[in-house]
Assembly symmetry: none
Homo-oligomer: 180 residues x 2
DNA sequence: TCGTTATGAATGAACG
DNA sequence: CGTTCATTCATAACGA
């Protein structure tokens, strides 16, 4: 169940309006649909994840979302889900791969798919990430008292969209993420 | 910025990951790309599906994958995706049918098709499937009428006992699935 | 060589 | 969190 979005009758081939290269609207002229992250957004999120962030607090989610909105429409819940999924899938994938391995007995599997090196805690990255106004980065050891929890996600969704509505000044991002 | 003019950009970086040389042969040009199941693999998977297996557990996936590897390269995730897709598409198809029905004749469509055809089940298939070291078959269906009661499923599960559960190299498969 | 179809893969959203 | 569902992207396979 769930999905309310009526399935647009196929062939939704796209964008009539000659908007810039498509990218993703998700909110523009197109129907309501799910969030379609831009490459930049994914990049940042991935970077954050790689740096060790796994379960961002609501504050962090809000901030991240806010920053990412520079690259395109995005809501807090999207960030929330993104991390949930990314984390879950990383585990699932690893689990599956391991099973394969144990099963295959020998066979040299040097490259584990496109796995990421385990944690590793990139200090360096953290440093850059700190440029983000993310105040607390204590995640691993943190007590996840927040944990959205879908209703909260929804709440976050309506609660605050952009902490800084004015679109004219979302300047910092460029700088902060330039390292990416 | 936002270059990506390429058609739809979905960030699908197809991921390098230098796929493990997909030495997926089985009579084709060996393209390194996605998994291309062999006829035998598809057959077995289809049988399993028809017998009622819809959402194999991680263990089952692992086992199935392991067994099927005899017929050609295959990974757990392939099995996972296969079932996901197969189930989803069946449902989608059914949904489409139901829609048509509702437009012409309301009625009838209710129960029959929500899942697989009810009866007719595969005593035969079960039998063959027992050859598989799939221990628990208890998932047969989501929440709905099942094809063959859970009892039977369970029975089927524990029934077999082909001693090859510890082989590691793909051995007996030939025999057990020869019926296919 | 192209257009179409079938299906592997990925992922946002959400459930239990 | 692990799982499941829906939808979409991408590409192998196929037909003309």
């Amino acid at each position: 169940m769930s999905g309310f979005c009526i399935a647009k009758a196929r062939t939704h081939l796209r964008n009539s309006s000659n908007n810039k290269n498509n990218s993703n609207d998700y909110g523009s002229g197109t129907k309501c649909g799910r969030w379609n992250p831009t490459a930049e957004q994914v990049k940042v999120l991935t970077e954050l994840f790689r740096s060790g962030l796994r379960t961002p607090s609501t504050d962090q989610i809000q901030k991240i979302s806010s920053q990412l909105s520079f690259y395109g429409k995005i809501e807090s819940k999207n960030v929330f889900y993104w991390f949930q999924n990314h984390k879950a899938r990383e585990r699932q994938k690893r689990r599956r791969v391991n099973l394969d391995f144990s099963e295959m007995s020998h066979n040299r599997q040097l490259q584990y798919y496109n796995e990421e090196p385990p944690a590793a805690k990139a200090e360096r990255v953290i440093e850059t990430l700190q440029l983000f106004p993310l105040n607390s980065f204590n995640d691993a050891a943190d007590h996840h008292q927040y944990y959205y929890g879908r209703k909260e996600a929804a709440a976050a969704a309506r609660g605050f969209s952009c902490g800084f509505s004015s679109e004219m000044d979302h300047p910092p991002l460029d700088l902060r993420l330039s390292f990416l």
